[in-house]
Symmetry: C2
Subunit: 238 residues, 2 copies
């Protein structure tokens, strides 16, 4: 009999360890308890524990070394909008602020969209919003988001000021990010983008078009992000 819900044990252990690593219970470079120790601690068998550790290694939370143990690595992303990380986490998330330019509204999708949409997505309409992200009061990202209006009641009413969109989707709708794809370009910004990012004429802008997959079948998050990479550069793992 499973104690509690029908969440697999290996998944549970994965979440526990992931949380511990994220919260700093284990520092970078630390050794995780050995597999056998984890077995004893959580009452599982080694194959189950190993499944959890394999997933953690995959997601970049640990590095395994035969004969040595599992070494903790710093978490890879978790920076709000951009899963491309680094600059922000290097500075600590303290100075990161979000200003909403266009509040979430429900409206039809643009005719020409950056990604191909399913029939269901087109029919559902999209939740649209524009946000500006500032680091130490300096605008860094301008983010235009599109979400298909599927199984997300009352989402336009929610606050997006302080919490990241991902956190809200996770806490209120149990939506988890699974991965995604992106197109990256260097562009000359439009006057509008230039003014939001407070750029001088001629300064280039990094443009990301992303399609983010979730655990909800058919639910994707889309965003078009303009970055001022003059002072900071976007960082990512692959």
């Amino acid at each position: 009999m499973n104690s509690g819900a029908s969440i697999p044990q290996h998944r549970k252990l994965y979440e526990i360890l992931r949380k511990h690593i994220s919260e700093g219970v284990y520092a970078e470079g630390d050794l995780l308890p050995s597999e056998n120790e984890l077995c004893r601690l959580y009452g599982m068998t080694r194959p189950t524990v190993r499944q959890s550790l394999a997933a953690l290694a995959n997601d970049g939370y640990i590095r395994k070394h035969q004969g040595k143990g599992s070494i903790v690595q710093l978490p890879p992303m978790d920076i709000g909008i951009l899963s491309v990380s680094g600059t922000t986490s290097a500075l600590g998330n303290r100075n990161l602020k979000t200003r909403i330019i266009v509040k979430p509204v429900l409206k039809p999708w643009p005719e020409e969209f950056m990604f191909n949409l399913t029939k269901l997505e087109r029919e559902s309409g999209c939740i649209y919003m524009e946000r500006l992200r500032l680091l130490d009061e300096a605008p860094i990202f301008y983010d235009i988001s599109y979400i298909a209006n599927i199984n997300l009641p009352r989402i336009t009413a929610r606050q997006f000021e302080n919490k990241s969109l991902f956190v809200i989707l996770r806490e209120h709708y149990q939506v988890e990010i699974k991965g995604g794809e992106q197109r990256i370009r260097a562009i000359s910004p439009s006057a509008r983008i230039r003014s939001f990012l407070m750029l001088e004429a001629g300064q280039p802008v990094l443009h990301l078009e992303r399609r983010i997959m979730t655990n909800m079948e058919g639910l994707f998050l889309y965003s078009s992000i303009f970055c001022n990479t003059g002072k900071y550069s976007v960082f990512g793992r692959f």
Copy 2:
């Protein structure tokens, strides 16, 4: 007793299936043989087969569906220099050419390097080269590569014209790419870069600084890539 070398069975099966998928034995959308069938075919047990399939799913070659089977996906990258993929694979790799600007030479590392180097790397010196990548005769990437001169005999003598650097490292030195990290910026190109990419003044350029990890302990590949994203955009999964 192991038949042949000391390569694990699950790794062997992984390589076999990966090759089959890459070579088109299975088309996109096809179902792989079921796990039990693979057991019979290759004389392994299900956990071993599952380990192979888990790795394939991880690397984006298949998508698993409970009750259904393992569905083949198109390979994710494998595009020569850039693991950021898409544009090239969409066009087929036929039109991709490489022109060597600076042949591989052994020299000391730059004093100020884009990533922190280990003591061993600094002492070993670096293999330096510059290459231009063209798509349909139009220059797209300008790639400056740095490799620590560790366990790579005769590498400066090898041909890089037609084969990708990764392929050479793989075939001659058994070096496998494990992952990496990158910084991305939009910049105004220098006159030199602008002339190589045949750009007009004012056109922005995408700049990637990458550190690529390998299976060889302590061996990293570094590259600084300048991309003309005017016509094509760099594509990547995460």
